[in-house]
């Protein structure tokens, strides 16, 4: 897709672009979370501290990322 074609679609408020952006953001958030949790663990953060930083409980962050350690 040409750059001006994209600009055109944004000007015309094509919802397909915005909806695709939301879906890409979900995936991006998962990737950033995975990388950051891994780093935090390597640097000695507790599950509680990571949960607090993410705004979720220690249990839920551990359930999601804990088994990936080792």
């Amino acid at each position: 897709m040409e750059a001006n074609e994209l600009a055109e679609r944004l000007r015309s408020n094509d919802p397909a672009v915005g909806l695709r952006a939301v879906s890409a953001l979900h995936r991006l958030a998962e990737q950033v979370e995975t990388a950051s949790v891994r780093q935090a663990r390597q640097q000695g953060w507790s599950w509680e501290q990571i949960g607090d930083a993410l705004g979720v409980s220690r249990q839920s962050v551990h359930a999601k990322h804990g088994k990936r350690e080792k």
């Binding site: 897709m1 994209l6 944004l10 397909a16 672009v17 915005g18 695709r20 952006a21 879906s23 890409a24 953001l25 979900h26 995936r27 991006l28 998962e30 990737q31 950033v32 995975t34 990388a35 891994r38 990936r68």
Partner: protein, 159 residues
């Protein structure tokens, strides 16, 4: 329904699931079915499309990158880790389910007893303009009418 699929058609579904997981998408959509169809580059369906798997994956990535750029997020040149597999099951989108329905109709129309990759291809070519597969085909400059000619399908949409 899957018992009526040929081995090639089953492989497309398996490959589509792999593509969905690799990308970290939560549902198997029509764009994943299109990628799945390209896993066997020698198949008549893949030949008729005239693009390879790498180009199609890149096209999908471009669509994502441009969509993110439209809201001010630039992921150009950033390497992110692969998304770890989720234990949850991966359902089909409603668009993908209608591709199956149309593939069955196509097989019935041509009096085939089994659903083959070509039936999938014709069903994918008939996707609505809003559908991710249609969007991807536009990005890849694939002309559905020309592909339909090459694979010997009906000239018009037959829904």
């Amino acid at each position: 329904m899957f018992e009526k699929f040929t081995a090639g058609a089953r492989d497309i579904v398996t490959s589509a699931l792999d593509e969905t997981r690799q990308r970290g998408d939560r549902r198997i959509g029509t764009e994943h079915l299109l990628l799945g169809l390209l896993h066997d580059p020698g198949s008549p369906a893949a030949q008729a499309l005239g693009v390879d798997l790498a180009a199609a994956r890149a096209g999908l990535h471009t669509l994502d990158r441009e969509a993110l750029a439209s809201i001010g997020i630039d992921i150009e040149g950033i390497t992110l880790p692969a998304i770890p597999g989720s234990p949850k099951r991966t359902p089909f989108t409603s668009g993908a389910r209608s591709v199956f329905e149309r593939a069955v109709k196509e097989a019935t129309r041509t009096k085939s007893r089994r659903i083959a990759p070509e039936h999938f291809l014709l069903a994918l070519l008939d996707c609505d303009a809003q559908d991710p597969a249609a969007e991807l085909m536009r990005n890849l400059r694939i002309d559905p009418a020309a592909v339909r000619d090459r694979v010997g399908g009906p000239a018009q949409r037959h829904r």
